[in-house]
Amino acid sequence: MGLEILVCIKQVPHPDHFSEIRLDVGSGRIIREGIPAIINPLDRNALEEGLRIKERFSGKVTVISMGPPQAQKALEEALAMGVDRGILLCDMAFAGADTLATANTLFYAIRKLGKFDIIYCGNETVDSGTAQVGPQLAELLDIPQVSSVQEVTFSDEKTLEVKRALEHGYMKVRLKLPALLCVNRDINRTRLPTVQSIMEVAQKEMIIWEARDIEAPPESIGLKGSPTCAVGVYEHKTGRRREVMQGSTEEKVQGAVARLKELGAI
């Protein structure tokens, strides 16, 4: 039998290059050309978890992503880690989606794919970082969900006990499959593809679906399906004094302490 396992991933700009992301003041568009793209770091932990569960219980791991054509690269990387099949949801009709419309798109694709026993997501992405799509998707699928998962224990093939992080501690949650888990980085150490697994990528199944393939109602996806919309993007003005002290070490320190006193900070 084995488990049907799904992992949702997102291709994101590399965080080390975020400071290069600029705003085109005229058009209000975000300029991110030339910024290298990677699999969202926590989504790698989600992939790793999916692969480990398959190794333990047998089954099949599918990876899915909504994104532009170049997001196929992220899916190929997931296949190279050992995932069995990749699905790219790629259509201009998906563009401009907020988290609910994204969750809707994934929902229709999953409905078309059939039943999954367990779905993994990274807890949040490094770009928009809302941590919302996972729980929203679970709600649409009407399955239980836990965020910030740091440890999973299978009582049997259908029952799990997960440890989820709290600010100063943790919570243990018991749940029945099918379920959706959003994992954090403590859950595992991710693997690197092997030469063997990279060679196998070409033989694996990669499906690209448009909106009509998943029969998603136009009013539930993309810009139209998004209850929220961005109306402005601004450079963040800090309003800091940016005063750098001059002189010898002693002079700089004395100058700094004097300034902090003037500002009422000490």
């Binding site: 709290l166 100063h168 800091r240």
Partner: protein, 334 residues
């Protein structure tokens, strides 16, 4: 925007204690309700938490919808989401504010998706502003690691739900003379709410030292502290300033601070009176964690480090010289 429909704050209590962010939501909720001329209410779920409900009143809520049941003692994913969505449907608030705590971040999307409505994450501010010619609630969120700020609106669907990052907004002032109406809603808790998912244990250590979010002075060390070999000077400086120690992600990876003291986008957000950054170059995902600080002092050896763009006072120099000198200078004044 409209003048009908209340503004709701979802109060979060754990073991009968209100999370600080609930008080932060009440200050913003009060300002919004006054400018819009609508009622500010709060919702509270738990077991025997009427005392907590009164605290919400003392902090500005005019009305409390109180849902009490022994099985609601801890946060329970399906029960909380279903009951909350239920009271929202019944009373139709126009705005729902939820703290972006570990629990709020899971509960809010679940509730918003049930209602098929809009949800904005991690707001750092909210205000009523004009978009086009119409007034809207503007959700201000940091984007791209704090490099950019985005304004988001939810034009049609109601309620609009937003989560607010803890530690950013000021807390509401407590006033015991405030009067509010506590409305007891009998929650129809069902066995089915716990059959697929159930919280079985909650372990929360009260932080050994003062938490970074509540400290008035935060001294935060980064990778550059490597030059000094350890974090003891960061602690010493924090002690002199009467503050607490925090660290960047590299400092946490080094084992110098635990996760509860990591500052940044994926860690804690602090807004103390004084934030001191030692040996951190100032990556956006770090600086977003302290942008609300009143005054920022930065020390780093690299004069080009972006940290100096987000600091009020900067010292460029070798940390192993600057920090001991700074400690001596502060001791003089003490």
């Amino acid at each position: 925007m409209s003048n009908s429909g209340e503004i709701w704050v979802i109060g979060e209590q754990r073991r009968g204690r209100l999370e600080e962010v609930s008080l932060e939501l009440l200050s913003k909720g009060t300002a919004l309700s006054q400018s819009m001329g609508v009622t500010l209410s709060a919702v509270l779920l738990g077991d025997e938490v009427e005392e907590v409900a009164r605290e919400l009143v003392f902090h500005g809520a005019e009305k409390i919808y109180l849902l009490e049941d022994a099985r609601l003692r801890y946060y329970q994913s399906e029960a909380y989401a279903r009951l909350l969505a239920g009271v929202i449907k019944e009373h139709e608030p126009q705005i729902v504010l939820i703290g972006a705590t570990e629990i709020g971040k899971e509960l809010a999307p679940r509730v918003a998706a049930k209602l098929r409505t809009g949800l904005t994450a991690y707001c750092i501010d909210l205000y009523v502003g004009e978009v086009g010619d119409a007034p809207h609630l503007i959700h201000v969120v940091p984007g791209w690691g704090g490099n950019l700020v985005m304004h988001i609106i939810c034009p049609q669907r109601r309620p609009q739900v937003v989560t607010v990052k803890p530690g950013v907004l000021p807390k509401a002032v407590r006033d015991e003379s405030r009067k509010g109406k506590i409305i007891k809603v009998r929650p129809d808790v069902r066995d089915k709410d716990f059959s697929r998912i159930e919280t079985v244990e909650v372990v929360e250590e009260s932080p050994k030292a003062k938490s970074v979010e509540s400290a008035d002075v935060v001294v935060c060390g980064g990778w550059g502290m490597n030059a000094l070999g350890d974090f003891s000077k960061v602690q010493e400086l924090a002690d002199i300033l009467g503050g607490v120690v925090a660290g960047t992600r590299p400092a946490m990876d080094k084992g110098w601070v635990d996760e509860a003291r990591m500052i940044g986008q994926s860690g804690k957000t602090v807004s103390p009176g004084l934030f001191v950054s030692l040996g951190a170059s100032g990556a956006m995902h770090y600086t977003t964690g302290f942008m609300g600080s009143k005054v920022v002092l930065a020390v780093d050896q690299n004069p080009q480090a972006p940290i100096f763009h987000v600091a009020d006072v900067g010292i460029v120099g070798d940390l192993s010289e600057v920090i001991p000198c700074l400690i001596e200078e502060l001791k003089k004044g003490a």
